[in-house]
């Protein structure tokens, strides 16, 4: 049997609430510590305790760490999902199970490893009886470690991290792992080909979840006020603010430069955040789809009242019950057109945890520069799962506070200013904030119906003028939002557009299309709405552009089609929203299903200025050009490989 090294997926089936997350994270971190690119995805039900839940781990030497739809190794700890778990093992794979589950083994094409979980745990007199179930999960950690070759030292390091150095739980869990590994060594005979071997591909990388990253980024962005209401999968973002703010913003006098308020609901959370943004604070709220629905009226008012505020939407499937703990990119069009009346949103779309951090601080800059709500759309997969990533980078620009006038400014202007007067011609007007003591500072804020001096009016001409300015302001926003990231391949004839958490799956699919289907595709990961020039340039390059997203209706495709109506026929939707983190399999299949080979298509792909690999596609040029501009400091071009 030929060894398969550093290229397989593991899935663990347990009962929700049985404490398996410690075990799963320990495996994940240990593999990461071994230098092997890895991802871990918690696929959990809406439930506190009892329902089946799964944890999927993928290790891949080439850096393809999107969720795989094939599982070579399956660990079954839950009798309720035993049959399903057994059936899910890939042919030639391995099946580990707790031997107290007495159910028939119906497969002969896989390796089967029963584990005496209860016996091993009972054998350790130091484990209190009420901890046995929890610690029982460590048996599969130990057995697996022994059988596939996870270094016990890295496991120990992962436990030290997890238990924050507390010796008692570290020892209790590690002793069980060692006992299980010892048992496996003596009693199990390796019958499958799957092994891990140390690599050096995670050096310098970090492992973090997007919600924590977003919270940290917000803190580095000078967050002053956050209001929130508990909702999966967004709660841990606000909880991370509470966890890290005291450490990152300490003061000798013990006083606070910030406030985090748990509101009574999302209606109030957004109201508070908008109040704080209006009064000059860097203010945010974090929620998921149902909460965003509740926030829509206030967000719409903030668009018209021109209040800077940051709204994180960690997307899930909704509404109401059903699949609320499953990931989605289903809120895009809703966020884009949120609010009644005409409105258009500024939306940032982070594609990984490092970007959750970066957009954490950058969103405040954009919101204050444009004086409008900025929506940051992450999702459950990115928000709650541990992702491998480049380290967080310190903000490379000072805080951009936008056009705010204080007492001395008003004295210089002799009080002569207008809240909605477009002095600079960019649609963005000057504002004052409460606490300004200049007698000409104050103005009265309302949604619609104000003149350039914020006085009440129902005059139609004034209304139209204001609406035109808001439109202009949205154009101005294009120069403040992040450019897309472009991945090119030599001789690419088609384009792929995606956003957010699907990047790893798309990169893998694009690689497979090239290697196995002979289709070369350039991939543009859009990072903001409104679209920047680089997006326009990319779209101009191909007559087939596959828009990949995790929803049913192809929401990004809808928005692109509305923005580029003359190109709408070139967009082909690859939309798939099953609640699971994106997988290359459906991305590739979706593209193949709609792909028209150049011979059959009416027009040829437009010729490009030169070989894409040389970095001379117009899109790439544009991206580079803009990335040198004042506000654009992000790298717009990356190598095609998922890791470096």
């Amino acid at each position: 049997m030929e060894k398969v090294v550093n290229d397989f997926s593991i899935i663990v089936g347990t009962k929700n609430g049985s404490g398996s997350s410690t075990a799963n994270n320990t495996i994940l971190r240990a593999i990461f510590k071994m230098g092997i690119p890895v991802s871990g995805k918690n696929l959990f039900p809406s439930n506190i305790q009892g329902l089946p839940t799964w944890y999927s781990i993928r290790a891949n030497k080439d850096g393809f760490v999107a969720r795989s739809e094939e599982q070579e190794i399956v660990i079954a700890m839950n009798p309720d999902s035993f049959a399903r778990d057994l059936a899910s093992v890939a042919p030639g794979g391995a099946f580990y199970y707790a031997d107290d589950i007495k159910q028939p083994i119906t497969r002969a094409d896989i390796a089967v490893y029963p584990m005496p979980v209860k016996q091993i745990v009972r054998g350790d007199p130091n484990i209190p009886s009420d901890f046995r179930d929890l610690v029982g999960n460590m048996v599969y950690v130990g057995a697996l470690a022994q059988m596939i070759g996870i270094d016990l030292e890295t496991i120990h390091a992962a436990l030290v991290f997890h238990f924050k150095g507390k010796q008692k739980p570290i020892d209790m869990n590690f002793n069980t792992i060692k006992a299980a590994a010892e048992w496996a060594k003596t009693n199990l005979e390796k019958q499958d080909p799957f092994y891990l071997e140390p690599l050096n591909k995670t050096e310098g990388l970090i492992m973090a979840d997007g919600n924590t990253s977003a919270a940290l980024g917000s803190i580095f962005g000078g967050l002053q006020f956050a209001a929130w209401y508990p909702i999966t999968p967004a709660s841990s973002l606000a909880e991370a603010l509470n966890e890290y703010l005291p450490t990152l913003r300490p003061r000798a006098d013990g006083k606070h430069t910030y406030a985090v308020v748990q509101a009574e609901d999302e209606l109030a959370a957004i109201g508070m955040a908008i109040g704080a943004g209006w009064s000059g604070l860097r203010a945010m709220t974090s929620t998921s789809g149902p909460g965003l629905s509740l926030m829509s009226e206030y967000a719409g008012l903030a668009y018209y009242a021109e209040v800077p505020v940051v709204i994180w939407d960690v997307q899930r499937i909704g509404p109401s019950t059903g699949l609320p703990t499953r990931t989605s990119q289903g809120d895009l069009t809703f966020a884009n057109f949120i609010g009644h009346g005409d409105s258009e949103s500024v939306i940032l779309l982070p594609g990984g945890v490092d970007e959750c951090f970066e957009f954490g601080w950058r969103a405040f800059d954009v919101a204050e520069q444009v004086q409008t709500p900025v929506f940051v759309l992450s999702d459950l997969d990115m928000g709650m799962n541990q992702w491998m990533s480049k380290p967080f980078e310190y903000p490379n620009t000072p805080m951009q506070r936008g056009k705010v006038l204080w007492e001395k400014d008003l004295e210089e202007l002799k009080g002569n200013w207008g809240r909605y007067l477009d002095k600079d011609g960019d649609g963005v007007t000057y504002r004052t904030v409460p606490g300004n003591k200049h007698p000409m500072s104050a103005y009265f804020t309302r949604g619609t119906g104000h003149d350039e001096n914020a006085r009440y009016t129902e005059d139609s001409a004034m209304w139209l003028k204001n609406m035109a300015r808001l439109k202009k302001k949205h154009e101005t926003a294009r120069k403040y939002v992040p450019a897309p990231v472009l991945y090119t391949r030599p001789d690419a004839k088609v384009g792929v557009i995606g956003f957010g958490s699907t990047e790893a799956a798309i990169l893998e699919a694009v690689h497979q299309l090239d290697a196995e289907d002979g289709i070369q595709a350039d991939f543009l990961r859009v990072r903001a709405i409104p679209f920047t020039q680089e997006v326009t340039d990319f779209i101009d390059n191909y007559d087939q552009i596959f828009v990949v997203e995790m929803n049913r209706d192809g929401q990004m495709k809808q928005i692109l089609s509305a923005e580029y109506p003359e190109k709408a026929g070139n967009f082909k939707s690859v939309a798939h929203g099953d609640g699971l983190p994106a997988a290359a399999k459906w991305v590739r299949a979706g593209i193949l299903a709609k792909y028209t080979s150049p011979a059959k298509s009416n027009g040829k792909a437009k010729s490009k200025a030169g070989p894409a690999a040389a970095g001379t596609t117009p899109a790439k040029k544009a991206a580079k050009k803009v990335s040198g501009a004042k506000m654009k400091t992000m790298k717009s071009v990356r190598k095609t490989s998922a890791t470096k």
Partner: protein
């Protein structure tokens, strides 16, 4: 801004803040002639002027409805935000974190507060946000032309609406149940009392809920309607004569010091609320007394007005958050962005 000190030659119509009454006014009201809300706006102007409050130190908030339009009719030199229906409280809660030295002044109505706004009303109270929350209570929706509000009494008949079948919401009782630290009820037809209560409310640290019966002359001013001028005049029973005495003023007249006749409430800023007893001695620091007097008023068809309940020693929301002395909205990048070295420490934690 330095305020000119009062001195010989200062015009008589300028207060200790150096401001004339006109400095406290706003745009002309667009509400109906005789609307109770206009009377309240006028008392706000007078109270602020007499208290020497600098308008820039007040922030106005409102929701939606006739009452919520009124913040443009006073204090045009104060910032204001006209928010969404029933959601003025959350807006104020967030905005007052911008500068904790400012006082919030919210104006809402019974439609805005007692229906969609009930949740936010109760929560802004339990957080003890440092603001005056006025409910201009007329039992009817004015801007939408005369529908019942949730404070309309059972049996009230309105044109096109028939007879109200539901029990009314008692704003003061709701405030008390939510642990408000200052609760008063007044009547727009009693402007002197409105003004004194406003002053006391402005001096209070934390939330001050003022339920002011403010008749709607267009849709709900029938003689027998609970929220009408004539009913109010016939049924008002003040709990006391209330006067607000500013800090460091020579306050109490000798004859009023007689035991049992006068009750004083010391405010945190050194001011004093003097409550002169009328028929009975009423103790507004006793929660059970407050519940009793509200229940009795309900049962006996009284319009019990005055200071219903007060607690002067509770921290406000911004106190609870232990904020720095400098207003948050004046902090600079150095106060807000962690230093560069912290990024490595954070990355080291991400494993």
């Amino acid at each position: 801004m330095t305020q000119p000190l009062p001195m010989a030659g200062t015009p008589a119509n300028v207060n200790l803040a150096g401001l004339a009454k006109n400095d406290y006014r706003g745009n002309p009201s667009t509400l109906c002639q005789g609307c109770g809300h206009n009377s309240i706006s006028n008392q706000i102007i007078s109270a602020m002027y007499e208290m020497n409050i600098v308008p820039e130190n007040v922030v106005k908030f409102s929701g939606i409805g006739c009452s919520s339009k009124s913040p443009t009719y006073f204090l045009s030199r104060a910032f204001g935000f006209n928010g969404l229906h029933g959601r003025m409280p959350s807006l104020a809660t967030g905005a007052l974190f911008g500068d904790h030295t400012l006082k919030g002044l919210g104006v809402s109505g019974d439609g805005d507060t007692a229906s969609i706004g009930m949740g936010q009303f109760k929560h802004v109270i339990r957080r003890n946000v440092n603001m005056v929350y006025i409910v201009e209570n007329n039992g009817v929706y004015g801007l939408t032309k005369g529908q019942f509000s949730a404070t309309a009494e059972k049996g009230l008949s309105l044109k096109h609406q028939g007879s109200n079948q539901y029990m009314p919401v008692d704003i003061c009782m709701e405030a008390l149940a939510s642990n408000a630290t200052f609760i008063a009820r007044s009547f727009a037809g009693n402007p002197k009392q409105v003004k004194e209560i406003l002053k006391a409310a402005m001096a209070h640290k934390g939330i001050a809920v003022l339920d002011i019966i403010s008749p709607c002359v267009t849709f709900n001013n029938q003689d027998n309607a609970y929220h009408s001028y004539s009913w109010g005049k016939d049924h008002e029973e003040p709990l006391h004569d209330i006067s607000y005495i500013a800090p460091r003023s020579e306050i109490i007249l000798e004859e009023e010091l007689k035991a049992g006749e006068v009750r004083e409430v010391d405010m945190h800023d050194g001011s004093v609320i003097v409550l002169k007893n009328l028929e009975k001695d009423y103790n507004p620091t006793d929660r059970f007394e407050a519940i009793r007097v509200l229940a009795e008023a309900q049962a006996n068809n009284w319009l019990a007005t005055g200071l219903i309940y007060i607690e002067t020693d509770k921290p406000s929301l911004t106190d609870m958050h232990n904020l720095v002395d400098t207003p948050l909205n004046r902090l600079a990048e150095a106060d807000l962005r962690p230093v560069r070295e912290m990024i490595d420490k954070i990355n080291a934690l991400m494993f």
